[in-house]
Symmetry: C2
Subunit: 317 residues, 2 copies
């Protein structure tokens, strides 16, 4: 969405007095992001990003902010929220919930090679391992319950073929045994535009505002569907193997995960088909969302119903 | 001191399993630092510094580590300690207390111009303001009590002229009214080699292991004595004004601080004369300290007994 709520240098200068980050030197809006207004903020002491929350309820924000703080404490390159002089992360600016976070370096890569896919696989495993020591809880806001509700709303807007695909997939997913899968905090939206590359290293993993607790393998599937798909939606076996092997080296997959893998790839594809189709057919009033093509993930879902590359074999040791 | 305690890649790889930072890719000793063993540690997920504590008692370490974590949370570029999967900062490696911290970018500058002196002044004020919300307490370990005790031990090793200088200065400092000065957490050792420059920005402020609670102005004096002295020990008026004005813009000096300023410059010079002379004349057994020339700070002390540049005037608003 880019910038919805304007912020003047004068208002920001005043607001920054709540912090110990020095005085405002430069302010610039960022034309990215789909649910918040974001700004680059440079002060006399450092470089930060200011986020104003346009749609996430204030009460839900502490889960995300403390998660980012926790993962940063664990040594991972995520945007750590900055505490004000009262030790609070969450403030109010221009009548919106507002937070200042560390600005990370790097740029996203929309055509990652297999070496970068491997680095992302390792990073995702690191996020999952670090998330195990995070104490707050929130269910994945785009989990099974949201899926059913959204599908019901959306069904009338779909073609007959799409309705059949949706019905069949919902019925299939209802039968998938997910209870045996390792669970934890998942990023849930680790697309290529949410990873910043600083040379060949990951300088930043951003946009944690879809995070929640769910099967870790679902997060792997979301990531693989984006990072390892060819232009036609089919999976690239080399990039897939690179990402999965690197993940497996940090957190070995279990036997239950090997079994569930094909279904998880489908569940992850379904989730983004549904959200994109909902943004397209059911736009929420007053919200300027960058509408992405829903057909891309409908087609990925169709393709994932055929054979997919297997997970690395669980160690038998 | 550089590296005292060797660490093998094998031992470190095992130890790193306690963290979520990925697997060891590269390990390299650092030949800097005077009381710890330090190593650059690169993993599959990031770049860190490993510190083994050679002389600071384990019980005193939480004050420093949580201080660094607090200042990083406040958005300042300090080496944030990394939490292990049990959410603990402090571990044990090679039978020494050990911590992994974020690796910051940049290099120190031993000939800073006035623009950099201004940036350091602003940063020091930021550290002081952020420190006000830090809840743990430790007195400055090199404060007035340490000064008296060290002077008594050292006196027999000094020349007659040095003894006179020392006696006069101790008598003078005993009469300085410090109770009216704003207090807080001070870095206490913000020398040029403890600031890393990343272009014209400060990428890191390091080495917090002399920090404690004392008069904030004492910290300003320590910093000015190092950053703004000419080769002969005299103060450079331009760099002094740059540093002090920039500090003042973030945290305005009080009237009591203006009055105490000349005495604080002397107290700060005395502190480093004493510690360097003690390292020289009273080396602790088994400790390999890089001995710095004590005469430099004896001469700075002598020079500060004459006129010094004044602080910026407190605002009368």
């Amino acid at each position: 969405m880019s910038v919805f709520t304007p912020v003047t240098p004068e208002a920001l200068s005043l607001w920054l007095q709540r912090y110990a980050v020095g005085r405002l030197a430069h302010l610039q809006g960022i034309s990215a992001g789909v649910q918040n207004s974001n700004f680059f903020v440079t002060t006399t002491l450092g470089r930060y990003v200011l986020t104003l929350f346009e749609s996430i309820p204030r009460a839900e924000l502490p889960f995300y902010l403390h998660l980012m703080a926790h993962l940063a404490r664990c040594g991972l390159p995520v945007p750590a929220p900055i505490a004000d002089r009262d030790n609070e992360y969450l403030g109010t600016l221009a009548d919106k919930p507002a937070v200042l976070v560390a600005r990370l370096s790097g740029a996203s890569d929309l055509s990652p090679d297999s070496a970068r896919c491997a680095r992302v696989g390792a990073m995702l495993a690191g996020l999952h391992l670090a998330g195990l020591s995070y104490r707050r809880h929130q269910d994945n806001p785009r989990g099974a319950a949201w899926r059913s509700a959204t599908a019901a709303q959306l069904r009338p807007y779909l073609t007959a073929a799409e309705q059949t695909l949706l019905d069949e997939e919902l019925a299939f997913q209802a039968g998938v045994a997910v209870d045996a899968l390792p669970r934890g905090v998942i990023h849930a939206d680790l697309f290529r535009d949410n990873v910043l590359w600083d040379g060949e290293h990951i300088g930043g993993v951003i946009d944690f505002y879809f995070a929640g607790v769910d099967a870790l393998l679902f997060d792997v599937a979301v990531t693989v569907n984006d990072w390892c798909s060819n232009a036609d939606g089919s999976l690239d076996a080399v990039r897939c193997a690179a990402l999965l092997d690197a993940y497996h080296a940090e957190r070995p997959f279990t036997s239950a995960e090997s079994v569930a893998w094909p279904a998880m790839l489908r569940a992850a594809a379904l989730r983004f088909w549904l959200s994109r189709a909902a943004d397209f057919h059911l736009p929420r009033e007053g919200e300027m969302v960058l509408v992405k093509n829903p057909d891309e993930y409908r087609d990925i879902l169709r393709l994932r119903r055929s054979a997919v590359p297997a997970l690395p074999a669980p160690s038998t040791v």
